[in-house]
């Protein structure tokens, strides 16, 4: 029973700290933030591993499906975020641009 209290505390503290951190993300990065959150929602994979190895025969098929889906999120979310963030360049880093004299 003490588990439920510990879990509720984690739920609330994570929500509060997350709220502060997320509110400060500029709209420039909202799409990568969201795809990153897709990856993070794949955290279900840890629950899937636990249920897969402990649950009886009849349940393991469902847990296996969850394992695959959650890993699609983890791998897909992180990689698409990586791809996107690599495209964001500031003026100084854009070496292919010609110098604009008056700048």
């Amino acid at each position: 029973m003490p588990n439920i209290f510990a879990m509720l505390i984690i739920l609330v503290v994570a929500a509060l700290l997350g709220y502060r951190a997320i509110s400060a993300v500029p709209s420039l990065l909202h799409t990568p933030l969201m795809s990153g959150m897709n990856a993070l929602s794949g955290i279900t994979v840890v629950g899937a591993v636990a249920v897969f190895v402990t649950a009886p025969e009849g349940a393991s098929g469902w847990a296996a499906a969850a394992l695959v889906l959650a890993m699609i999120n983890v791998a897909g979310g992180f990689w698409v975020t990586e791809r996107m963030l690599r495209m964001f360049k500031a003026k100084s880093s854009d070496i292919t641009e010609e110098e604009v004299p008056w700048q």
């Binding site: 984690i10 951190a21 279900t44 899937a48 695959v68 699609i72």
Partner: protein, 465 residues
């Protein structure tokens, strides 16, 4: 318990640091990498705490999921990011529902507590709702089905009754401590699948950013509640983070449209007073482009003399694949000695921040991209405001007229610039259905037509002088 609590705090803490690094474009890549490292640690911790049981088989399934995920992420184009995120929202919700369902049938015989049955019903329900809602969102965004918002008589009643029935069954399942889970949970899943379907069915066009943010949040809530059900600290903490992130973005999107979440999810009939839309609706095949104003005004002269240029991109730019043309025009302006900035409306695109990614993709520096608040005072000092595929976000009627779908929506004051050039497909109103009064102002030159053809013509005028 103490060890797993410490591990969970450490892993969730790393996720939060990762999000904090996402606050700046220079550190965001490392934030993402820190997040993926923390995820790897979470996986290893899951293996350790289960004693590496069945590790071979577990790794096979993980390998399959990873391969599919990487393939998807590598092949997706940036214009398709909204449906990609929607799809992953759906997978996240489905995965959480499946984990809890597996736990339910696996542990049903053991004397599970009220908390387990309450949270498991909730997790399965929210997961199922997220899944079906996301599937409809993907179909809409991909243009496969339900492209226009769908509504039918009695819609609201059916939607509310579905949700109410789902809530009652969730409570019933908890109170009966799972003694009838074999019937109740499948019925709950069906109701929630229907609920998610109905919820997304009547959302269209520029309301998509809101529904995608909301489903993103739901996928996190499903994970957090699943964590409560299977008593997994990491799952609770990380799910909570995702849930909050989705809610923050939902709120930002609603504020940018001056609409409440409830107003988006309920009461409006498409057509007569369609919902507020951030930008121009996708072009209709039948629309005949015309360029009446072209040639009457000294467009080449205006382009050449403009030294301060602000470009307002809308979803119409993305639909006509004109991003590259806009970049070339930007380069031509800069070569001509002009300073170019981009005015970014928060709801432009089909998901939060979509327009930024589309411009970054064609190599436009992010320090030229300005948010609504800092850019708005600058229009008055601009020689030229160039609107490409945006309508409602620059419509002065949003401030002037009462009782329109866009009344009170913060707009970009493009009309304050000395000259305004509009490169939209046609003069039809944007998604909101409200006539754009900007088009009729004297200093506004309209160039109707596909932006991927009209924008290069502007570039030609500018360079051939």
């Amino acid at each position: 318990m103490a060890v797993s609590l410490v591990a969970a705090v450490l892993i969730v803490g790393l996720f939060i640091v990762g999000i904090r690094l996402m606050q700046s474009p220079t550190s965001a890549l490392w934030g993402n990498r820190l997040g993926s490292t923390a995820m790897l640690l979470a996986l290893i911790w899951a293996f350790v705490s289960t004693g590496w049981a069945d590790i071979g088989l577990v790794l096979v399934y993980i390998g399959i999921g990873t391969a599919i995920g990487l393939l998807l992420a590598q092949s997706v184009k940036m214009i398709h990011m909204p449906q990609t995120v929607a799809l992953l929202n759906g997978f996240g919700g489905a995965a959480s529902a499946l984990v809890v369902w597996a736990a339910v049938i696996g542990y049903a015989g053991e004397d599970a507590a009220l908390v387990f049955w309450g949270t498991s019903g909730l997790a399965v329900g929210v997961g199922a709702l997220t899944f079906s809602g996301s599937v409809v969102a993907v179909l809409k965004l991909q243009g496969i089905a339900f492209r226009k918002p769908v509504q039918f008589p009695g819609y609201g009643h059916i939607f509310r009754a579905t949700l109410a029935a789902a809530v009652i069954i969730t409570i019933l399942n908890a109170v009966m401590v799972g003694s009838m889970y074999g019937v109740l949970v499948p019925v709950l899943v069906l109701l929630c699948l229907l609920g998610g379907f109905l919820m997304t069915l009547r959302i269209g066009g520029a309301d998509m950013p809101i529904v995608i943010s909301l489903l993103n949040s739901f996928s996190g809530i499903a994970a957090a509640v699943a964590g409560l059900a299977v008593e997994n600290f990491v799952l609770v903490g990380a799910g909570s983070l995702v849930g909050v992130a989705g809610l923050v973005l939902t709120r930002i999107m609603c504020q940018a449209m001056n609409r409440s979440l409830l107003a988006v999810l309920t009461g409006f009939t498409p057509g007569a007073h369609a919902q507020t839309q951030g930008e121009k609706e996708e072009p209709e095949e039948a629309a005949e482009p015309k360029s009446a104003a072209l040639g009457e005004a000294d467009l080449p002269g205006i382009l050449r003399e403009a030294k301060r240029v602000i470009i307002v991109p809308g979803y119409g730019m993305a639909v006509s694949h004109a991003q590259d043309a806009v970049r070339q025009l930007t380069n031509a302006f800069e070569k001509n000695g002009a300073e170019v900035k981009f005015a970014m409306h928060p709801v432009a695109g089909r998901m939060p921040g979509h327009m930024y990614v589309l411009l970054a993709e064609v190599g436009i520096d992010y320090d030229k991209l300005m948010d609504l608040k800092p850019i708005n005072p600058q229009f008055a000092h601009a020689d030229l405001a160039l609107i490409v595929g945006a309508c409602d976000v620059v419509n002065p009627a949003a401030n002037a007229a009462e009782n329109t779908p866009i009344s009170g929506m913060p707009i970009l004051n493009a009309g304050e610039a000395k000259n305004v050039v509009v490169c939209n497909l046609d003069e039809k109103p944007g998604y909101s259905g409200v006539d754009n009064t900007l088009y009729h102002q004297e200093h506004v030159i309209t160039v109707w037509g596909d932006a991927s053809e009209t924008v290069p013509r502007l570039t030609e005028m500018l360079t051939s002088g």
